[in-house]
Point group: C2
Chain length 363, copies 2
């Protein structure tokens, strides 16, 4: 393995995965589940994927303190001081700021790939090539690089990045970031060849991102710049510091606070079989189908007159279904969800409704 | 309470309730479940209902040996020797023959009401009046009396009894028994006023039914007539005898073997708010509905765009459902069933399929 000692990875895995409720729960979010039945969780798959490029000693996992045990158990290879635990949920900007100052304290010359843990990548060789090219670029340019996935369909569930001026190879300036489009607009996006799916994977040097954070979101940057590097190098002191200051950070995404406003934002267009695992229908699309066009996760299913469903169970269970088309059927920890696939965007609201009506036990 | 010491009751509760699978299971059939959320099981409700008419010491419960513990636990008032356990399932004729010879050994002058435990009766005063009138009739006539329920709708799920010559009050000769009719035929039945729902509740004297069994199904009757009355009065000897001979009986219903062929068959037409609890849709019809026209049994439900469903859970669970109409959703003991209500007649086949595919654990 060719791992450059200045290269680091930050895996962000503090989300609560509420879009996969009840299969993914606050107490067991999707990144900690063997979601695809491969015997590796999404977090483990993210770790495996990057560990050919970045030495495990340089992989930092940032999660919520709720999930400390999951991270330790699932990544025994990871040095304990590489696990950073957030005491509160504050979106990606504070998370990335914290990780950046932490890494810079270890190595001011560090370059960093930042990645969520809840996507799937099927072509790992391509991934490795793209990531290495990205590192090479940011190490010789003051660039905030985001990976844009070459779209294969007019997907309405993803954000898009429009490329601007071409720089070199597969790297261009970013012209715009756009929200999830309507179908007609997505078709136009696809036809122009200028629009790429926003993967949420970033590559930059510690210097570039700290500089950008300091410029564009100084109220967050100043918090993490307020202590000397030594604080980040002593796990106990660092933890005390994080627990104290992290909750005071404002809740904002790196996209909104930095990427959409900075002038040195670039996109590397890539094709490595990426899929967001953000939705049940994405999981359905990605999963192998039974003969009857249903997807089953971790359960025995007898299906009659059923098609287009995803059946997901945590814990042993037999599901017998008759006359269901295009439903999500998910059962875990005392909650059964049966929801039309095309209404899955309502699931977050359902979780909220359940909490209001029945209390926190079903979160 | 006015209980005539010659009057007995036989509650038959050995069925496995497979039509309510998986809520009702071989290991916990519906008669032993608090099906209507009243804190009394169907067996207990049957016992309560009859115990104003028949002394508890004269109530005999015939069940399958699998369910001995349920009967003992649920009916602590019942003398243990009043519980007769069948070692095998042989339908109603052997069950009734056994119970009849048992009761006749105690009291040759006994009259007997025989009733299943899986229906609901809402007007208990009417029930009591009807049963007393039935007892009075059979105690002065050699009559096999069945209770025919005045129909209130063209139900296609029940068998019907056509009345013949009127005898007295609400009692007539039976002209025919008919199977479950098609809807058009059921409408004709209702319009004529001659057809009544077959309740499966019978009243007769021990003498009359033993005589009829001996005449019409001598191969069964001879088995139970083969030992002296003393055998039935010694619980241990009786149990040994039953365990030995019962499995040798042929599997046949009392309707087919006796009621449809005997000449002294009468029907008492009654109206006491009877409903068969034989099907999910019957249970749906009987149960109070939520505002959104769903029925929930023993579970918290959040329903969106749902109507006409029955949600039944054994064990605590939250069900969140979106976009379901007219489904059965039943969850118990490691099995989840989601089935269109109009396909519930397929559930027995599903149970068989599950057993073939996954073994006996889901029975």
């Amino acid at each position: 393995m060719d791992t450059n000692p200045h290269r680091y990875c930050v895996i962000m895995c503090g989300g609560i995965g509420s879009r996969f409720w009840p299969y993914s729960r606050t107490r067991m979010p999707k990144q900690f589940i063997d979601f695809l039945g491969t015997d590796r969780t999404l977090l483990q798959m993210s770790f495996d994927r990057i560990s050919g490029i970045v030495s495990p000693s340089n992989i930092i996992v940032v999660s919520n303190s709720l999930y400390a045990d999951f991270v330790h158990e699932q990544l025994p290879e990871l040095p304990p001081e590489n696990i950073i635990l957030e005491p509160a949920r504050r979106n990606t900007a504070p998370c990335i700021a914290l990780a950046s100052w932490h890494i810079a304290a270890r190595d001011p010359e560090a370059s960093i790939i930042v990645t969520p843990a809840d996507h799937m990548i099927t072509r790992e060789n391509e991934f490795e090539k793209s990531v290495r090219a990205g590192f090479d670029f940011v190490e010789s340019n003051d660039a905030l690089l985001t990976l844009g996935i070459t779209p294969t369909r007019p997907e309405t569930g993803y954000g898009y990045i429009q490329i601007g001026e071409h720089v070199k190879d597969s790297i261009s300036k970013v012209k715009t970031f756009t929200e999830k489009p309507e179908l007609e607009m997505a078709k136009v996006f696809l036809a122009t060849g200028e629009f790429f799916w926003n993967s949420g994977i970033f590559i930059w040097t510690a210097k570039s991102i700290m500089s950008a954070l300091s410029e564009h979101t100084p109220e967050i940057a100043s918090i993490f710049a307020s202590v000397p590097p030594e604080t980040y190098l002593d796990h106990e002191r660092e933890t005390e510091f994080i627990d104290r200051v992290f909750p005071t950070c404002k809740n904002i995404s790196i996209d909104y606070s930095v990427m959409e406003v900075a002038s040195n934002v670039y996109v590397e267009t890539v094709s490595f079989g990426w899929s967001d695992l953000g939705t049940w229908s994405a999981l359905f699309d990605l999963s192998p189908k039974n003969n009857d066009n249903n997807v089953t996760q971790n359960c025995n299913v007898l299906a009659y007159n059923c098609s287009g469903n995803i059946f997901a169970v945590r814990g042993e269970k037999l599901i017998v279904a008759d006359g269901l088309e295009n439903y999500i059927v998910a059962d875990a920890d005392g909650v059964l969800l049966i929801c039309r696939m095309d209404r899955e965007q309502k699931i977050k609201q359902m979780v909220t409704d359940a909490r209001i009506k029945f209390g926190d036990k079903y979160k």
